[in-house]
Each structure stands twice: as C-alpha cells, then as structure tokens.
C-alpha cells in the first residue's frame, strides 16, 4: 500500500526541501520505490537540491492540465534507483494547482510507488493545504526557535482539520516531528530550546533530529541530497530518520554536546561558537 507523506512546517527556511530530498533519497536507497513532488509552484527548488535542474522539461502543472503525461514529467534520479522527481512549475502561479488535479495525480502515483513525498511550500495558504490534503503521514520540520515552533503548531492544527482524513473522519494523519538545525552547544549554554522543550510543547512523536551542520550547505551547493554524505553528522542523522520512518528503532544521536576537557570548558579554545 502506497504512503503519501507531506513534509511541511509553516515557516520558510527551516529545511523542508532539504529534508524532503534526503528522506526520499533514503527511502529509495532502502529499496522503496519513491517519488518526491515539489508543490512550491512558482518557486521551485527541489530540482536544485536533487541536482536535476537541467533535466526539467515538464512539471506538475503540465501534468494536471493535461499538457504532459506523468511519465514525461517525472525525472529519474541519476544516483539512486527507484527514485523519481516531479518538479513544480516555475512560471505558472499557484492557482494552477487544483484539488481535483492533485487527487488525480496522487491516485495514479499510488498505483506505482511505495512512497510519495510531497514537499510543501511555506505558509498555510492554498499551496501548503493542497500539499497536505491527501497525506497519510506528515513530517513537521521544526527549528529550535520560537517562530518555527509556533508555526509548526499552526500546521498541526491544519493537519487535524483541513486534510482529507480529517474531513472524512477516518484515522487522523500520523504526525512526526523532525527537528533540524539543532546546535547542542547552544542548548547546553542555555541559548537554544532543548529537544525536550520542543517535544513537550508540540506533543508529537519525534522522528529525527538533524544537527546544524556545514555538510548541508556544501551538499546543496553541489546538488547532492545531504543523506549521500554518509561521513557527515547531518547525513547520518537523515539515515537514522529514514530507518525510523520505516518502523525501525534507532537510538538518537548528535543531540548532546561533544565532550570537552576541563581546561577547554574553562578557558575555551578551538570550540565551535
């Protein structure tokens, strides 16, 4: 049975596209046939993060409006088998998406894929609501920062009221928390919300924790989803996240500050500030 998972957050810039790209890649690496769809019509970026921007011919809007077939629009990933990208339109405006059209596309993809990852645009308007409407599960990407946490709570409200599952009164959308850009040093010094603070406030199950990492920017510079950087902390954290999404129990890592000697703690020196 295919699963539709929306990656959403409310607030922009928290790591939705980075996370959608890495989660989709990770699922395909684990042998799951996966497609990742960019719902950010007008501001597409998933193609850049996936490194396939020069291979975009048709997009989601073309498919919905009948100007191209699904198989023409989907881009086969060059690094991982079983992985496809369905880009957003760059030129149309966001009203080009219709609920019926999205339903139709997702219905066809459900026949063919194990996982359908929907990369939501920021905000809580139409585009974001369409991205989440048909979801079975949701990954709520949150930074340890007040505005991101508040917006995540707003998104949880929408997931519980505006989705197809909510409207039909069937089993609610399963909500997962993914904390990104976590900096254990700043948490220890009391300048950043802790993992437990965020869990307590949002009260949803934790799927993963991605540390703030230099690997994320250098991966996006190169158009390689950071999960491929398996020597980096962020890459490993995304691998763990995907394992948990597949139902495995994996202990949390990268949430504690790296141990420093007594002298370093007292007088500093070389530590990342």
């Amino acid at each position: 049975m295919a699963k539709v998972i929306v990656v959403t957050s409310g607030k922009g810039g928290v790591g939705k596209t980075t996370s959608a790209a890495s989660i989709a890649t990770g699922l395909a690496m684990r042998g799951q046939k996966t497609v990742v769809i960019d719902f950010d019509v007008g501001l597409r970026n998933l193609d850049l993060i996936m490194g396939c921007e020069r291979r975009v011919v048709y997009d989601l809007v073309n498919v919905i409006q009948g100007e191209a077939g699904l198989n023409q629009a989907m881009i086969r990933d060059k690094r991982v088998e079983n992985l496809f990208i369905l880009p957003a339109s760059q030129t149309r405006d966001k009203d080009a998406l219709t609920q019926e059209g999205v339903k139709d596309v997702l219905g066809k993809l459900r026949q063919e894929f194990d996982f359908i990852i929907c990369d939501s645009p920021a905000g809580i308007e139409r585009g974001a609501q369409l991205a989440m409407h048909f979801a079975d599960e949701a990954v709520v990407v949150t930074n340890p920062e007040v505005s991101s946490v508040r917006d995540s709570d707003r998104i949880l409200g929408l997931l519980a009221s505006k989705t197809q599952r909510a409207e039909e009164g069937s089993e609610p959308v399963r909500e997962h928390l993914l904390i990104t850009r976590y900096n254990p040093d700043r948490v220890t010094s009391g300048d950043m919300l802790t993992l437990d603070d965020i869990r307590e406030i949002l009260a949803i199950e934790l799927l993963g924790l991605i540390p703030e990492s230099e690997a994320v920017l250098s991966a996006s510079n190169q158009g390689v989803p950071v999960i491929h950087e398996s020597a980096s902390d962020a890459g490993l954290a995304y691998l763990d996240t995907v394992s948990r999404l597949l139902g495995e129990e994996v202990p949390l890592r990268f949430h504690q500050t790296s141990k420093k000697g007594f002298l370093t703690r007292m007088f500093g020196g070389g530590g990342r500030r």
Binding site: V149, R150, G190, D191, L193, F267, G268
Partner: protein, 83 residues
C-alpha cells in the same frame, strides 16, 4: 574570559524564556482550534454591541463554543465594570 562568563551565569537563560512564551501562545492557539471561522468576528461584534450600552474592555467578553451530543452551546461571559 570563560571563567568570568561562568561566574556571571545567574540571569535567566534565553531558552527558558522562549519556552515559557511558547507554552502560553501554543495553549492559546490550541484553544481556538476547531472553532468555526466566524468566532473572532462574532466576538468583536458582540463587544461593539455591548459597548453601545456599557463601556467595557476588549478582553471583558469571553466566548466559547462547546459541542455536545446533538447540539452546540455558545457560552458568553461578559465582565461588566462596577457602576
């Protein structure tokens, strides 16, 4: 320098301020969840109507909608100033 910072570590850390603020705002957001979209407007207009007769503060009116088995109850709580 580090030692000085350590000794000065008395004031409240910013993360705990953030947590307290979030707890309040999130509780408020959740109390409004599932309400019909017209509730904020209804509340505003009720305040205006009451003000034609009595001068009250913006936060003097509290309304809530509770669903029971086959009906909904609109509860209206108005605090009037001492006259």
């Amino acid at each position: 320098m580090k030692l000085l910072e350590f000794l000065k570590r008395e004031r409240k850390k910013s993360a705990s301020v953030a947590k307290e603020r979030l707890q309040i705002i999130v509780a408020h957001q959740r109390s409004q969840r599932g309400q019909p979209d017209y509730m904020p407007m209804l509340e505003k207009e009720l305040v205006e109507v009451i003000r034609r007769y009595v001068q009250i503060d913006d936060d003097a009116v509290q309304i809530s909608l509770d669903s029971e088995d086959n009906c909904s109850v609109l509860e209206l709580n108005v605090t009037l100033p001492k006259s």
